[in-house]
């Protein structure tokens, strides 16, 4: 990772705005599903980091305890240091929280049944497509060759077939990397 730049508001401002918009688009699949867009934004459009650094940031956040959205914290930190980390985190967590509060405040009842169902069920296929896209761009971002893809498939199979805690799968991945299997 390169040295994070000094906080530059001309960088943090757009980052905050973009992340805030994306936070409201992460419906049904969590913040993981906006990862391709975040990667496109920080890697392809702005060259704030490389694809490999993005994949590494994601993997590091996965290895840490806490909500899955923390990879955005690391991305923000990478882009603009501490200010960037705070800005990214607030942008991802803030708008959805405010929206949740507003809806709870407006009504003690649940979101109207049929509409919520239509939104939830309707958007589910899009979330699925976006999650596949996330896995795809993370894999492409790593410096791994075909053996990395095999590791990806093994990890997916392990989680689907067993009840193993994902964190052990991450540990196994790190070990496989260290001993030179990928």
């Amino acid at each position: 990772m390169t040295e994070p730049d000094a906080p530059v508001w001309s960088v943090v401002g757009p980052l905050f705005g973009h992340f805030a918009v994306l936070s409201l688009m992460a419906i049904g699949g969590g913040v993981v599903m906006v990862a391709p867009e975040i990667q496109r934004y920080v890697v392809d459009s702005h060259h704030w980091m490389t694809a490999e650094q993005f994949s590494a940031a994601y993997a590091i956040a996965q290895a840490a305890p806490g909500p899955n959205m923390l990879y955005t914290t690391l991305v923000g930190w990478q882009v603009a240091g501490w200010i960037g980390a705070v800005a990214a985190t607030v942008a991802i967590v803030g708008p959805p929280s405010l929206l949740t509060l507003a809806i709870m405040h407006a009504s003690t009842r649940r979101v109207p049944g049929r509409f919520a169902r239509a939104v939830g069920r309707g958007l589910a296929p899009i979330s699925v497509g976006l999650l596949f896209a996330t896995g795809w761009i993370l894999l492409r971002g790593t410096a791994a060759d075909w053996r990395g893809a095999v590791l990806t498939a093994l990890a997916a199979a392990a989680v689907l077939r067993t009840k193993i805690n994902p964190v052990w799968v991450i540990v196994a991945g790190a070990t496989a990397g260290i001993v030179g299997l990928v």
Partner: protein, 193 residues
């Protein structure tokens, strides 16, 4: 600030939930977040339903359902909803802060370590392995979710278009969602019976 809307008068069975001090919420959600290696949700369930008995299983499922429909990080939405219900805006803020603050510090600590040691060959190789595996974890989630999607032409096309548009062609997500989401909701609304 303002009190959470009580359930009183809503329905005969609804009882105003007991208040929980913001500090307790903060500590409880911090604990859940810090236990949450590989996903906080199972730990939230264990803590809120089984250990502290703050909510029963049905109530937890209801909270979760709404938290999932809302945009953003599901587990954070859940913390906000529960905190607000039990201690108003202060409670919502305390719960959310509990969920985020400590993990934030830890992940930045790891980031700093990566910045320092990321160039070491062993660290680099470990991260390549971890990234490959992380991609696999996401694919597993995608496959699990795909099983719940109705095997009909329109949903499958929507999933494929989202994947290709965002993952392969690399269109902006905003553009892809703007095109696909209205079609998806409309289809789902029409075929809802």
């Amino acid at each position: 600030m303002s009190d959470p809307p009580s359930g009183r008068g809503d329905a005969p069975t609804a009882v105003a939930p007991a208040r929980i001090a913001p500090l307790e919420l903060f500590l409880a959600f911090s604990e859940m977040a810090l236990s949450g290696f590989g996903g906080v949700l199972p730990f939230a369930y264990r803590a809120m339903v089984e250990r502290r008995r703050w909510v029963d299983r049905e109530e937890f499922a209801r909270l979760l359902a709404v938290a999932q429909v809302m945009p953003g990080p599901t587990i954070c939405n859940l913390a906000v909803m529960f905190g607000y219900r039990r201690s108003g805006l202060t409670g919502a803020a305390a719960s959310l802060a509990g969920m985020v603050a400590m993990p934030f510090a830890i992940v930045l600590g790891l980031g700093v370590a990566y910045q320092r040691f990321g160039d070491l060959p062993a660290v680099r190789r470990a991260l390549v392995g971890m990234s490959s595996v992380a991609a696999g974890l996401i694919l597993a989630t995608a496959i699990k979710m795909a099983r719940a999607v109705r095997p009909r032409v329109v949903p499958i096309c929507l999933a494929a278009l989202a994947f290709v548009g965002v993952g392969v062609i690399r269109f902006s997500l905003i553009a892809v969602i703007a095109v696909l989401a209205p079609a998806a909701v409309l289809f789902s609304w029409k075929s809802d019976d």
